[in-house]
Amino acid sequence: MDVVARILSLALKELLALLRDTKSRLILIGPPILQLFVFGYGATFDLNRVPIAVYNEDRSAPARELVARVVGSPNFRLIREIGHDGEIAPLIDNRRVLAVLHLGPHFSQHLLHGEPAPVQLLIDGRNSNTALVLLGYVREIVTTFGTDWRSAHGQAPPPAVLKVHALYNQDLRSQWFIVPGIIGILTLVVTTIVTALSVARERELGTFDQLLVTPLTPAEILLGKALPSVLIGLIEGGFILLATLFWFEVPLRGELGALLLGMLLFIFSAVGIGLMISSLATTQQQGILGAFLFLVPAVILSGFATPIENMPEAVQHLTVINPLRWFLIVARGVLLEGDGYASLANTYWPMALIALISALIAAWMFRHRMA
């Protein structure tokens, strides 16, 4: 009974310290909300109204028809129609346009004679990803144009056709992929930093020694420090989840309980790692830098923006100790793919293990340092 009361009073003191002044309170509440919205809308791989230019040397009807299809797509925005070769390079070099569509003077001639009619597409490759995505869009339009042209001219359809269907995210909206990731990132950042700094601050100010001479045991101190962080992480994560569902309208297709259980284990592991960092740091600067040295690779190697499957084998193995990697599977699995407890069990135990091991290391480090 005593133990519980001791831990709770330390946790309460910790919570009060975190929420004492307006600036600290604001920093806990304001930025995550701001980031959620800025990233939710800003972090997109989709192409919307991308500026392009058209260089059409063939004024015939089929040429104009093809150009109209490209320009009419909501993915593109026609900035300029150009009249000669020399205009292409400056437009692309200066990033005025992302691509130039070029139809030669004999385009329709080729087309009418049944020879393959070439269409040139010059793309700015400085952003390799947008270049590939843009190429994919234009290719689709050109292929459809070709199929339509054939059937309009009484030619046989191609012997085989692809019928592509995207499951879980039919319209391929980046937002549905990114926003569940943001739940994980923001929860991880806030929880780790709050935990990492809670002990480091006391150490820097010298009040940690005072804590040590109280009846509290090191394990109790750790628990007292961990509790407020878990609470803050849960509130933060829960709020962002609500915004994901009701503001960004990401569907919830699986079991909510499975997501919440995953979130709890994820927060435990973030707190464990935060405690581990704080056991190493003697100043706040070291605490925040240590948190950073963990957070940056954790976010990059989580599959948040770039798929884990694209990483080299060795790096893929390394990602198993990254709690964010597991939580992203839970969040996207429950929200988009309709997963439940059973199919996510193989993500729960790694997170639980990370939490347990990091907490044990932190406890050992504390005892070791005090001896």
Partner: protein, 394 residues
């Protein structure tokens, strides 16, 4: 700022004539720089963020992170195998982008798909060969996992590429003239191999310099405010511009050092082209470093303590540099209000310069326009920091 205060300082300076001399000024400055450098040396965590973090990030982005899909798992369902289905499967097998696994029925394949073992499912029904050789239009069902919309789009593009190539070869074999009426000839400038590494590593320099200039500096200076040692410095004869210069010079050197490290590793190890001039790179980097330092200084003055300064620096400088600068996500595709916000993110201008300098060369219009924006920001930030220093004193 109060006139009285300014007055006493001037009087003091007048009475001790050595204080204002150039030699004394230089000595004060050097002393301050030496003190800052000692402080960096004493706490190795500063050096960690300046040199360990860049190396970690470079290795991650150089070797670990890639937007280029490869080894995509495909569940290839063939309900009735024959020569035609084998040739299509062979086309996927030969592509280095795919790792197809063959299935006989759709149910087992769907299980592999929902267990996330494969990225896509290609389904050839039992009547595939009959329709292929009959009146055509034989459907090839493709289901891709759309959760990662970007990868789904790129992966679909690759599947279409294999299909197009296979179809052309098949038609040739059958002696049918079925060439597509229109062929697209893409030419990707500046990065013909479309390697995402060449696109990501130059932008990384802006992220690292933001970290050093804004995060590290804001925390170090905030510590001085927190402990009251800044006030102690301010009552010495040192002037505010001198104080700012002395505080920032070591971090400026750290930032430029990590930039050079990035360039050396990027060009030397990863083979990223540097098509623009080194001189322009140095000059624009120095300019951006000053902007980042200005942000760091201002944050430290506003925040007053390390905890708030660290959080503020991450939220107002690091994360925007990551998401809103064009480093990974294209600014042109963001909604208009977000694009507006991105204009106040200094990293945006530097990332544009870096991507152009490395991949395209000296495109003066881009370099000059973005440098001008950085220059304006530098003047505003450092000017504001100087003003705030005075105010804090009163």
């Amino acid at each position: 700022m109060s006139d009285a205060h300014q007055g006493t300082r001037t009087d003091y300076r007048d009475t001790v004539d050595t204080v204002g001399s150039i030699a004394a000024r230089r000595m004060r400055l050097l002393g301050l720089i030496r003190k800052e450098t000692q402080q960096i040396k004493r706490d190795p965590s500063s050096l960690a963020i300046a040199f360990v973090l860049p190396v970690v990030l470079l290795l991650l982005f150089g070797y670990g992170v890639s937007l280029d899909a490869r080894n995509l798992g495909i569940a290839f369902v063939v309900e009735q195998p024959d020569a035609d289905t084998a040739s299509l499967l062979g086309a996927f097998r030969r592509s280095p982008l795919f790792e197809p696994r063959e299935y006989r029925d759709i149910q087992t394949a769907e299980r592999a798909f929902s267990a996330r073992q494969v990225f896509a499912l290609v389904w050839l029904r039992s009547d595939f060969a009959r329709r292929l050789r009959g009146h055509g239009d034989a459907p090839i069902g493709v289901i891709v996992n759309g959760v990662d919309a970007n990868q789904a789009r790129i992966g679909t593009g690759y599947i279409q590429g294999v299909w197009r190539k296979w179809l052309a070869g098949w038609l040739r074999e059958q002696g049918i003239d079925g060439a597509p009426p229109v062929v697209l000839e893409p030419r990707i400038w500046f990065n013909a191999a479309v390697r995402s590494r060449d696109f990501l590593v130059p932008g990384l320099i802006a992220i690292l310099m933001t970290l050093i200039g804004a995060l590290l500096t804001s925390m170090v200076v905030a510590r001085e405010w927190e402990r009251g040692t800044m006030e102690a410095l301010l009552v010495t004869p040192i002037r505010i511009p001198e104080l700012m210069l002395g505080k920032l010079a070591p971090y400026f050197a750290l930032g430029m050092g990590s930039m050079l490290l990035c360039v050396a590793v990027g060009v030397g190890l990863f083979g990223i082209p540097l098509r623009g001039s080194v001189l322009v790179l140095l000059a624009t980097s120095a300019l951006f470093m000053l902007v980042a330092l200005g942000m760091g200084l201002l944050i430290s003055i506003i925040a007053k303590n390390q905890y708030v300064a660290g959080q503020m620096a991450i939220i107002t400088t690091f994360l925007p540099a990551f998401i809103l600068s064009g480093f990974i996500f294209a600014i042109g595709s963001m909604p208009a209000p977000i694009q507006w916000i991105s204009h106040i993110v200094p990293a945006r201008y530097f990332v544009a310069i870096l991507q152009t300098l490395f991949l395209a060369g000296d495109v003066w219009r881009i370099i000059l326009f973005n440098s001008a924006a950085l220059l304006v920001m530098m003047v505003l930030l450092l000017g504001r920091a100087r003003g705030s220093f005075r105010k804090r004193l009163d």
